[in-house]
Structures are given as structure tokens and as C-alpha cells.
Amino acid sequence: MSNKKMIALYVLPALLLILAIVYIPIVLTAFYGLHEWNGIGAMTFIGLGHYKTLMQDKAFWSSAGHSCLLAIFSVLSLILYLIVAMVLAARIKGANLFRKIYLIPMLLSSVAIAQLWLRVYHPTNGILNSLLVSIGIDNPPAWLAEPSIVLYALFIPILWQYAGFYILIYYAALKNIPSSLEEAAKIDGANALQIAWKIKLPLVMEVVKVTIVLAAVGSLKYFDLIFVMTDGGPNGASEVMASYMYHEAFRAYDFGYGSAISFFLLVICLLVTWVIRKLTAAKDTIQYS
């Protein structure tokens, strides 16, 4: 067999698959987005018509606002995760067990987590309101039915699900720092806070940047728990971009408009990745060892 055939044999199966299932659909999404189409009948070319509608679609921008809010919460919560990881990495006995426990929610399916948290938030029998009543709060809210709080109530299980993931990443990065650096700083009289802020943080900054991108993009395209728990309701109060797209395409059968939304979502995700990379790349990064 010639070398070329050999290489094709090794590369083509996976390459063709990823082209067919990932890249061609992306091109098609862009194409569908320029058409009026209900998914079955004929397509009518309307140019940028859907994007003009999108710009003025209040429901979409409200969902985009919710997605951005989730992104902000997710990125801010990274600070907490980093602190927990620093505590874990500070020669704590049982650190390994702790990080394994923290990771458990991340391993479970979003549907199971969503169904579980639906019960957690259950107005009368849920564990949350039971506990609140038992400590004397008489009229705890129906968390998922209240338009003003539903979004925040949904953020909790989302953060709960991913906390262990980010703690694990930070912990691994912190463990990679040579202990000689910390010892040298101690000799020079640095306290634990100074060591964390001045020595450890700069050294894990690269990883922090990656997690910022992961958290931001992951939030912007977030879908699962919200779709199962509230389906965007009540009355759009918890709709996010991905769920809005899904509803337009697979409930309203407006595949053209749905495609325009999902192409817009793709562009936003790639753009945000690029912008965060640019912003964080401007700062100096330190590489020891």
C-alpha cells in the first residue's frame, strides 16, 4: 500500500465524519439563516431579513441578556473556585477526597440534575423550602414560578454542577507549581496571602484565562438545565439564547429564523473567545521552571 493511501486510511474516517457532522452543518446553518423555511417545504431567499428581525426581536435580546448574566455569574464564581482550590492545594490532608466529592455533580446527566433540582425547589415538599420553613421563614417563594427570581434560582444548580470541574482544573494547575518557590517565599517572610496572590496566582494565570473562556462561552450557549427545568418560562423570564433558538426552530417550526439565531450564537461564541483571549493576552504571563 502506498504511503498516501495509508495516511488516507488513518485520517479520512474521522476527518470525513467531523466535516459531515460539524463543519457542513455550520455552513448550512449560515445558508438556512438567509432563507424563509419551515423545515419541510421550499426555501425562499430573503437575504439578511432574519437578521433584521433579530435585531428588533425583544424576546431574543431578553434571552441574550439572560445568557450574558449567566456568563457574568459563571466568570465571577471562578474566584470562589480558585480560593477553594488554593485551600485544597495547601497541603490539606484528604485534598484528593475533597476534589473527588466536588466533581460528582459534573458527572451526572443534566436531565437527572434538572429533575433533582426541580424537587429541591418544589414549593411545598422541596428540601429548600422545608428547611426554610423549619427555621421559621413562613412563606418561602415558589422559586421557579416567580419571574423576578427564576433566573437566579436556575443559576444555582448550574454553578453547583460545574464547581467541581473548575476546582479540579485549578487544583491540578496549583499542584504543578514547584514547591521550592513557595518555600523560598516563606524564607523571605511572605505570608500565606502574599504567596497566594503574588506567587501562585501569576503562575496559574494561563489556566485561569482558559477557564474564563470556558465559563463565558459555556454560559452563552447554555441550554440543558434551563430547558428541562423551566423551558424558558414563566413567560420567557428564564429564556436563554440556545433555548430561544430551539423553541423557534423545533416548536414554532421556523427553521430559517432558528438557523439565523444559531448562526448568530456561533458568531458570538467565537467572538467572545477571541476577545477574551486578546484582552487577557495583553497582560504579562510568567513562566517559571
Binding site: 495509508m6 495516511i7 488513518y10 485520517v11 474516517p13 474521522a14 476527518l15 465524519l17 467531523i18 466535516l19 459531515a20 457532522i21 460539524v22 463543519y23 452543518p25 455550520i26 448550512l28 446553518t29 423545515g39 485551600v87 485544597l88 495547601a90 490539606i92 475533597f98 476534589r99 473527588k100 466536588y102 460528582i104 458527572l107 451526572l108 446527566s109 443534566s110 436531565v111 429533575q115 424537587r119 428540601i127 422545608s130 428547611l131 453547583w160 470541574f165 479540579l168 482544573i169 491540578a172 524564607i187 482558559v210 462561552v217 450557549k221 441550554f223 440543558d224 430547558f227 428541562v228 430551539y246 426552530a249 423545533f250 427553521f255 432558528g258 444559531s262 456561533l266 467565537l270 473567545t273
Partner: protein, 295 residues
């Protein structure tokens, strides 16, 4: 600490200067924080286990976190026998396994070609796989749905397997790449000199040598495929082809008021992962860490 070594004495002078009790208090405080986080992570699951073993009366009357004193194991028997949970479970198992095997095998072939063969467009192909990781699944959903409809693949498990393999391929290749780069070339060179064919070398020498990273990628793939929801929810319509995630979603809907049955259903769906985690936690942790940081 022993006195006598001047360097060591100086080393430890800082902590020793602080009162011992303060340090212990500091450590205790750290533990309180860590344990609190652990409790937060586990509490909902413990509660789930408890109410999966209660009947409705116990759920309503007892305090939320009281353990089930006379566990109602029949909740589990009831949901397993009543609906299609058994069917969903088997679908999840075989679809997950088939997709995982294909992903890891094709991923290994590509990674081998990317790291061990010289060819034009290598960097470009690697780039294609890596960029695919940034693409949101939802942006491909509508075209995939219409493509699969045209090909008659909607409501067929094949549509799921193709999607799972393609979307998990980038992360699989990324984890494998690090390992392949570190793999010594001497063995291969020796094999080539001995007249070993490339295929033989790959299957007889390379694959066995990468066993540990294969295990890691396999586990990651199994978890992702087992938990996948949106493709099943979009492509599969008939009950006989649904997997556990979507099955559970529909099933729970029928039992809106039977807490024990809902709890048992959810427990059945997460138990395989929890059991696997109990035995393979180091590999799982390692795989998740490897699949995220190296980007």
C-alpha cells in the same frame, strides 16, 4: 522540628514564631470551608437517595433529611417494571459503548497519523479538529436534523452514534495527542527496521502502549455519551429508541406526584456513573483535567 541545622531553623522560623494555636485554628477554619463545600455538593444527592426510598406520606410528613427508616425498595422494582426504563437503559448502554469504541479507535488512528506520519495539510487537519471544540452543538442542530431526515436517519440510533463520535472526536484527539507526543519513537523505529508493517505496528505496538490514555479517553467518552440529552431529544421520537436521559425526562413527567418513583428513576439513571466513579475516580479525574487544561 529538630534544631541543629541552621538552614532548617531559619526555614521554620516564620511559622514557629506564630502561636501554635492560631495555626491550628486556621487549619480548622480551612477544613470547615472544605467540608461545607462538600456538604453542598452532596446534600441534594443524599436527599435524592432518601426520598427514592420513601412513600409519599413519608415524603410529606417527615423532615426532608430524615433517613428512610423502612426503605421502600419496591419503588425501584416498580419503575423498572412499569415503564420502558429497562429499554432506555439497554439503549443507553449499547449506543454509549458503540459510539465510544468508534471514537477512541478513529481518534487513535488520526492521532497516530498526526504525530507519526509526515504529510501535507497536517497542521490544517489538526486545526480543524481543535476548532471544532469551540463550535456550539446547538448551531449544528437544525442542519443535522434536516440532513438526518433526508437520509431517513431520524429516529434511528445511527444518528446518535454519528453525532456522538463526531462531537467527542476533538476532545479525544486532544487527550491522545499529549500522550503520543511523549511516546518514545525508538520502539517504532526498531519495529520498522524489523520489517513490521505500519498497520501491524499500530495495532500490535502503539495501541497497547497507549493503554492508559485509551482508558482515560474511553471513560470520558462513556460519561459524555451516557449523559447526552439534546441529540436524543431532537432526533429520536419513538420510545423504543430513546436513551435513559430522555426516557427519564418523559417518565418522570408521568409520575409528577409519586416522589418515590421519581427518586428511584433518577437514582437508576445516575447509579452506573456513580458506581464507575467509585472504582475509577482517579482515571476520571485525570481525564477531565487532561481534557480541559491543555487547550
Amino acid at each position: 522540628m529538630t534544631i541543629g541545622d541552621a538552614g532548617r531553623l531559619q526555614n521554620n522560623s516564620m511559622p514557629a514564631a506564630r502561636p501554635e494555636i492560631g495555626r491550628k485554628f486556621g487549619y480548622a477554619l480551612l477544613y470547615v470551608v472544605l467540608v461545607a463545600v462538600a456538604v453542598l455538593q452532596l446534600l441534594p444527592l443524599v436527599w435524592l437517595l432518601f426520598f427514592s426510598l420513601k412513600n409519599n406520606q413519608e415524603v410529606f410528613d417527615q423532615p426532608a433529611l430524615s433517613p428512610p427508616l423502612n426503605p421502600h425498595w419496591e419503588n425501584y422494582a416498580k419503575v423498572w417494571n412499569a415503564g420502558n426504563i429497562g429499554v432506555y437503559f439497554l439503549n443507553s448502554v449499547w449506543i454509549t459503548v458503540v459510539a465510544t469504541v468508534i471514537t477512541v479507535l478513529l481518534g487513535s488512528l488520526v492521532t497516530f497519523a498526526l504525530t507519526r506520519m509526515k504529510w501535507k495539510g497536517r497542521a490544517f487537519v489538526l486545526g480543524l479538529f481543535m476548532v471544532a471544540m469551540m463550535i456550539p452543538v446547538h448551531s449544528t442542530l437544525i442542519p443535522l436534523f434536516s440532513m438526518f431526515s433526508e437520509l431517513g436517519l431520524t429516529d434511528r440510533p445511527l444518528s446518535l452514534i454519528l453525532s456522538y463520535v463526531a462531537f467527542n472526536m476533538p476532545i479525544t484527539i486532544m487527550i491522545l495527542l499529549g500522550f503520543y507526543y511523549a511516546l518514545p519513537r525508538e520502539v517504532e523505529e526498531a519495529a520498522i527496521i524489523d520489517g513490521c508493517s505500519v498497520n501491524r505496528m499500530f495495532f500490535r505496538i502503539i495501541l497497547p502502549m497507549t493503554a492508559s490514555v485509551l482508558a482515560t479517553t474511553t471513560i470520558i467518552n462513556l460519561i459524555y455519551n451516557w449523559n447526552e440529552f439534546i441529540f436524543v431529544n431532537t432526533f429520536i421520537s419513538s420510545d423504543t429508541n430513546k436513551t435513559l436521559t430522555v426516557g427519564v425526562q418523559n417518565f418522570v413527567g408521568q409520575y409528577t406526584t409519586d416522589w418515590g418513583a421519581i427518586g428511584a428513576t433518577l437514582m437508576i439513571s445516575i447509579l452506573p456513573i456513580l458506581v464507575a466513579y467509585l472504582f475509577l475516580s482517579d482515571r476520571i479525574v485525570e481525564g477531565i483535567a487532561a481534557g480541559s487544561v491543555k487547550g
